[in-house]
Each structure stands twice: as C-alpha cells, then as structure tokens.
C-alpha cells in the first residue's frame, strides 16, 4: 500500500543530468494537483474572510465606496444594542427549539423503521423518504405554504375533520415556528441515511446478549442503540445546528423576505441580507456575519466538549 515512486530503483536518474529528487517531484505533483483548491481557498475563502473582518471595522457602502471610514468596534457595539439582532437571535432560538428535536427525532424514527429486519422493500421506501431533499427548496416551500394555508390547506382540513381547531400556521407569531419545522421535515433524508448507517454499525451480538438478559425492545434501544449511535447523532446534531443558524430560503419564501408576522421570521441571515444588500450597510452586515460565525463555532465547540463526556466511540478514545 505504501509503495511509492522512490522505492523503484530505476526511477533514480543518472547523477549528471539535472533532475529533481523523486520525493521532491512527488510533492510538486501533489501541490500541483491540489492547486485549484489552494487558489480557491485564497480567492474565495481565506481572502474574503480577512476582507470581511476588515469590512466589519468600517462603514463601507458599495454605492459610495470612496466615503468609507474606519469606525473601529462601533459595528460590534451596535450589534449588542440593536433590538433587531436580539429579536433575530430569539427567533432562531425559538425555531431551534421546535426544529432540532423534530428533525433529530423524525430522522431517527424513520431510520429505525426503514432499517427494521422484517420490513420488505427497504430500498424504495428509503428513496421515498429521501426524495424531498431533491426538491428545490423554493418549490417545496411553496407546496407546504399551500398545504398549511389557513383556509384552503389540507392540514387544517384534517385537523377540522378530527374536531381540532384550525391553526393560522404562517401568520401567527407562535405557530410559524412549528410550521417552519414541519417544512424542514422534508430535509431529513440525509440525516436518516446517516442514522441507518449508524444503526447498521451496531454489532448484533450486543442485542443477542441483551435479549438473553431479558431486555425488551425499548431497553435495548435506550441502552445499546442510542449509546453506540451517539457519534452519528452528534454529527447530525452539529450539521442541523449549523443549518438552523444559516436558515434563509424557507423564511424568505414564506413572507417574500419581510420577516412577517411581526418580525417573527426575521432570522439572522435575513437581517444580514437586509442590512448588507437592501440597506447597503456592508460594514455592519460583515459584523453580523462574524457574530453568526462566532455563535456557530461556539455552539459546535460546546457540543464537542459535551460529547467528550457523553459520546461513546467504539474504537476507544479519539
């Protein structure tokens, strides 16, 4: 496996002609092949990150760039006192409160169901649950918007048929978060597949041993499946959490970017979009982007710190 060019003696060139040593040649080829990514990293990631950090210390405005002034930490001070920012943080938090448990639960539930040893046609059924991931977000949001419509939507018709009151899903400050979480259910396909792979990696001997000891299905699930799947669940949780803070398209489509009702769907990304591209406050928008980055990074680190104690890695300490 580790045999490489330099172990082939004939690859050694005669000493007189000028040739690079094979190991140098190999690393040059390596750098050459990864060069597209390195250039992209500099042009579209690392460079812009530095520029955006610099921007956040100015009052840059794309319409009149020559009037740019250095304002120090003023943008960051403004973040702390801007009620819109606080409101968007609270909105994100409320949304996360519904969306994260629902997404985690539904993707695990579907994984357990569609990995059941007795279930026939697993492949096609998994494909059906995965399918909505392929639907353009705008289109799926429009479909759900109709489905959740207060007067003509089917969900309210079903609720009415079983004697429950109609719910004003989209236009009520309280119900818009559960509504957006329901819309988010169509994005669980990836998490479900990852959970299925996690379920399949649990050794069956453990279940057999537990059954011998008289453990029921629920106990087996709680004591064997969940602990052994915790690395996979953590991975999903991190990705979902990042997604929650990046949330944009669905919230933008349901109110055409207005953030209705009463700014309840004005999530951080919408505030950033508005400040940066509608009001042209690019310096302030850059500060919002960095706040977002710090929050996401912080939450990810907290999760990993928590995971160090609670997540079980079958291969021992990592």
């Amino acid at each position: 496996m580790t045999a490489t060019i330099e172990e082939i003696p004939s690859a050694r060139p005669p000493a007189r002609t000028f040739r690079l040593r094979p190991s140098v040649r190999e690393s040059l080829w390596g750098y050459a092949f990864i060069a597209p990514w390195l250039v992209g990293l500099a042009l579209f990631t690392a460079g812009p990150m530095l520029v955006s950090l610099a921007l956040s210390l100015t009052d840059f405005n794309l319409v009149k760039p020559e009037a740019m002034k250095f304002v120090g930490l003023e943008n960051y001070a403004r973040l702390a006192s801007d009620p819109t920012i606080w409101q968007s943080l609270i909105a994100t938090f409320k949304f996360a409160l519904f969306a994260i448990p629902l997404t985690m639960g539904a993707s695990l539930g579907f994984a357990v169901l569609l990995n059941h040893p007795k279930l026939p046609f697993k492949g096609p059924l998994r494909a059906l649950v995965y399918m909505p991931v392929m639907i353009p977000l705008v289109a799926s949001t429009l479909v759900w918007l109709g489905f959740l419509n207060t007067e003509t939507g089917w969900l309210n018709a079903i609720l009415g048929a079983i004697g429950l009151p109609r719910i004003d899903w989209i236009n009520s400050e309280a119900w818009v978060y559960p509504a957006l979480s329901l819309i988010g259910l169509w994005g669980i396909g990836n998490f479900m597949l990852i959970n299925i792979a996690g379920l399949q990696s649990v050794p069956t001997e453990l279940y057999e041993a537990a059954r011998m000891d008289g453990a029921g299905a629920w106990t087996q699930f709680r004591r064997i499946t969940i602990p052994l799947m915790s690395p996979v669940l953590l991975y999903n949780l991190v990705i979902i959490l990042i997604g929650t803070f990046q949330y944009f398209t669905q919230a933008f489509v349901i109110t055409n970017g207005r953030g209705d009702p009463n700014n309840a769907t004005l999530f951080m990304n919408l505030v950033l979009y508005r400040e940066g591209f509608v009001f042209n406050h690019m310096g302030y928008a850059a500060a919002i982007a960095w706040l977002l980055f710090v929050i996401v990074l912080g939450l990810t680190l907290v999760l990993f710190a928590f995971a160090r104690r609670r997540v079980y890695y079958a291969g021992g300490e990592r």
């Binding site: 190999e26 390195l38 392929m134 705008v138 990852i194």
Partner: protein, 361 residues
Amino acid sequence: MTAVAKAEGRAFSDRSPVARSYRRFLGRASLLMFALVIISAYLLPLLYMVTTAFQQPGQSTTPGAPVYPATAQTATYQGKDYPLYSVPMPDGSTRQLILVEPGRESSGFIDPKDPSSTKIEWVGRWRTLQQTWTFAPLVENFSTAWTQLNFPRLLRNTFLIALLSTFGAVLSSTLVAYGFARFRFRGKNALFIILIATIILPFQVTLLPQYILFTWLGWNGTWLPLIIPHCFANAYNVFLLRQYFLSIPRELDEAAMIDGAGPFRVLRSVIIPQAIPAIVAVSLFHFFFAWNDFFVPYLYLASKPELQPLSIAIQQYNALYASQPTLIQASALMTMAVPIVVFLLAQRAFMRGVVVTGVEK
C-alpha cells in the same frame, strides 16, 4: 395458543411451518402497511400539490367543493347556463335539479331531464344545498404558468448554470482529490483538515467580500458568480472522491507508471475509469445543488429575468400570484419534475454518496 388457533377455525397447528410462514408474512405485511401509512402522511403535501395544480381557479375557496379537481356542473335552460344541485325531496329521495330561481326561503328548480315540465318549488335555503361536481382536471394551469414564467428559458438557464458549475466542480475536485489521495507532500494532513473545516464555515463570512469582488469585476448580473467559485473544488466533493480513490489499489497506478505513464496519464487511464460511480454521485449531487440553489442566484440575478434560473423565477412568481394557488402549485410541480425523475432513476448513486460523506468522517 393451539386453542386460539382452533377457535379461529384454522386446520393446521400453530407450530406448523405453514402457520409460521403465514405469521411471518402477516408481520411483514403489517409492518409494510405501517411504513406506507407514515410515508404517505409524510408526502401528503405532494398530493396536495398535484391536486391543486389540476384544480379550477377558485375551487379551493368554494364552499362544498370536493378535494379532487372538479367543476360545478351546469345545465342549459332556455338558452342560459344554471348550476346543478343535489336537492333532497320531501319523499326522501335526492334529485339533480337546475336552480333557476334562487329565493331566500324557497327556490324554483327545473328537472334537466324534462325541461319543459313545470317549475319545482322547493322550500328551504338553496345555499345549504350541495352543488353537483364532476371530475375535471384543468391542464391549462400548466400551460398558463409555462407561458407566464417563460418556462423554456428558465429550464435552459437552470440547466446551463447547473451543467457549467458541475463541470468545473467535478473536474477541479477530481484533481484535488487525486492530489490528496496519491501524493506525499509536506503539510498534507494539515491542509486536508483545513479543507474539511471549511464545511462548518458559514458562507455569510465570505459572502460580502465576494459580492464586492464580483461587482467590481462587473460580474454582478451574470452567471459567472454562480459558476466560477465552484471551479476550485469543494470539501464535500473532494472528501467523497478521495475516499473512493484511496480504495483503488495502488498496484494499478504502479503498473501504469512502470509502463511510463505520468501522473495525468495515471489519473486519466487508471483512477477515473475505476472511480466512475463516485464521480457520477458527485456530479449528480452538484448538479442538483446548483439546480436547487436559491440564495446566490437571487443575490446576483434578482433584477435579470432573462438570466434567472427556476427557483428565483418561481419565488417571484409566487410573490405576484400568491392568490392563485393553482398556478403556483403547477409551477412548483414543473420545477421539481426533473430533479425527482432523475433522483428516482439514480437513487442508489445518490444515497450511497450521502453515507460515504456523512459517516466515514
């Protein structure tokens, strides 16, 4: 147990192979039924979309209208069209009658089978009556949305943007993955970790400078900001391809090198032919990522209708015609048709790719 079986009148013993396989079949069938019910509920909004896309405009707001696409039936009486109602008669039967003289407390009806007969006076409020509906899918919703949206242009734009950006992304990612999979160089591990770390970097952090850069280059309002950044490889694609390249035996490369093949030749003649499934998966992923993307196209093309892809156009269409759900759902159906069909045809390639990128980290 046997007593129960006998009580149910079964001729065979409960422990017989027939009974066991019957029970197993029953278990599987009920589990399948359960799964189908859950999945149907999960996909119910799709049925809503299809149904609404074929409905008459305004059908969903008409009281008493059925769920399926239908028109209220009318009948001609003395040269004019009148609605048809199901009228409960005093003798307990229900008749299909034409409402010709709606009144507050009593109304005049005509029997459509016998229009020349005298008017039937019916006592009661006609608004409480059920209109007669017939199944009538309206295909014009699609043609209306198709022309209003200029759908052929949208399809062409979406397809070209997705194709060009997929080409750039897959080509660059293949080169980079090959570099990471087959060459030893200083800092390789650190660079690979940086590559993976870019996955959790929120795109907002680089968004504004990129926007300023592209605006200064004069690329705002063109497809270039949607295509060029993807031509420099991305973490997901490189990761998936690298994993696959690592599984290709190195002996194949070495055999080719002994025959005098250089690194490009090895990539072209050994690695790529072996890695077709992974390359197909990455291409499909990227193609539909680009097909479905909303934010970046919106940022650069919101004011350029002639260059817009589907998702921008239908969002703006919804902003204009939100009051006409039939047209909106028809446009949504047309937008998702291509991704869904391709996915159902190539679902294995898609679903394998997810697990590789997700779990093997």
